[in-house]
Assembly symmetry: C2
Homo-oligomer: 291 residues x 2
């Protein structure tokens, strides 16, 4: 398979224009209107207020609290803890391991949106619940998810979309998602080979797959930075190649969300494009059967 998005090379960083569309479906084929699909194409993301009800938020929040204190979950390799505070930061593969989160990952409100955008059947490439604690929540540096999924999971093109469902209010000040709107149209090829078992480090602190700072500055100047605030129960859907990040959180207000990545079955992962071997299945599914 031709590699349209070469990355993790030696030498200079490079910027590659996207070949694929962002939206593969039409307004007839799902919940989004033509106007919404147009905005997604242009900015790379869409916010959906009140995707789930307050009761559903409470059910999922209670489940996240319970999981964060379950010794079995804490010992599981699919759980990532903050390097300094030792609090739970993410729990992966919850669409398989947990009935509450499996339900939302297969809910028509979510799946039909993913199918519409990707214009095909879909499968879940990754799922997780994220918890950014108050006072000590750590930042995520700028990155494109697709860069990692392409390099380390073997995802051929950026025909995948993520949905983040907010379980807490996102204020401008508690470390919300930031996106450079429009950045999904360009792929930043990152410098440096992927080390063996890179994922063990990269989930806590970014190493390989880090975009060059000069390129990031140029992207920020050209695209700007949108801060995605919104109330609990709302969702953000964003393209796999959006350049995004979040600041740390010194406020008392923690942030948590459910995060599900849908990939088109026509874009199913092959061998990694720039890593010795694929990451574990809980980071990048190897089972590509449609939902």
């Amino acid at each position: 398979m031709r590699d349209r998005y070469r990355t993790r090379l030696d030498g200079e960083p490079d910027v590659i224009a996207r070949e694929e569309p962002v939206v593969f479906g039409t307004a007839d084929s799902g919940p989004y209107t033509a106007e919404e699909l147009g905005r997604l194409e242009q900015t790379g993301y869409l916010q959906v207020p009140d995707l789930v009800t307050p009761d559903e938020v409470e059910t999922m929040s209670a489940e996240l609290r319970r999981l964060s204190q379950d010794p079995e979950v804490l010992a599981d390799e699919r759980t990532v803890v903050e390097s300094t505070s030792q609090e739970v930061r993410s729990i992966f593969e919850v669409h398989l391991s947990n009935p509450v989160f499996s339900a939302i990952a297969h809910d028509p409100r979510v799946v039909e949106r993913a199918r519409q955008v990707l214009g095909s059947d879909v499968y879940i490439h990754q799922s997780r619940v994220n918890f950014k604690p108050g006072f000590v929540g750590k930042e995520f540096s700028w990155h494109s998810d697709f860069e990692t999924w392409h390099a380390e999971d073997g995802m051929p093109g950026p025909r995948a979309i993520s949905i983040s469902i907010a379980l807490t209010d996102n204020y401008s000040y508690n470390g919300p998602l930031m996106i450079m709107p429009g950045s999904h149209q360009e792929f930043i090829s990152c410098v440096g080979e992927t080390p063996e078992d890179n994922f063990k480090e990269s989930l806590v602190m970014q190493g390989a797959g880090t975009p060059d700072t000069k390129v990031l500055r140029d992207f920020a100047d050209r695209y700007g930075i949108d801060v995605l605030t919104g109330q609990a129960g709302g969702a953000t859907m964003f393209d796999s190649n959006c350049m995004h990040a979040s600041n740390g959180n010194v406020t008392p207000y923690s942030r948590s969300n459910v995060f599900i990545v849908f990939n088109s079955v026509e874009n199913a992962c092959v061998e990694p494009f720039a890593a010795p071997q694929p990451r574990p299945h809980y980071l990048g599914a190897r089972d590509h059967a449609p939902i």
Copy 2:
């Protein structure tokens, strides 16, 4: 002297109502209107757009850039570097060491506002230039400056005011100042004795003088959090007892400002209220002669 604001004790954290006014002067005695002084009394801060001109911003920014690369400045004990990136974070006592920053610290646009709010002659308790680099800028946890100045510098009451002049644009996303509006009316007594030479650690990472997290959560719920954005050249004046903080900065846009603290000559520092000895003069002036 009676200690109205006991802190750094063993046992439980305590919240003490403020005794002093916030504004000691009147609309007749300086640049601020009665409406502005009323807002300062209520919220604990005031923003002044365009306090200095773009040319002045450029002069001060160039001077900060020059200082950040001057080996003599880097070696000076009054310079604080980021613990991880080794970039300059703050340079103290610039009102004495540097002609450019001395000029702004003595400028009538600044000093007359301080005199008006404090209702007396004033002297400079502390000055510094701060630089929060892009990508790796670190956070400042919640604190009241007065708590430190009282405990470690011997400032009797909260009759002091700070002015922060922005040398770069402050966006919601590059780690701007956050204030809990109204929090200046209550003093949080912090738990734990002050270690010897605490300042050497506390400028880089907070230890003694850290408010209790339950109290902070209660403050945030009652007072809310204001995010102080604004353009370069604008200034924020805020009461010495405001509960404030700032998040880190993963964006490409660095943040820098000039920070000057004025104290009333009627509130001149005495011996520390909760520390073995006063901090060095570049952190808390021991010369109280009025400007």
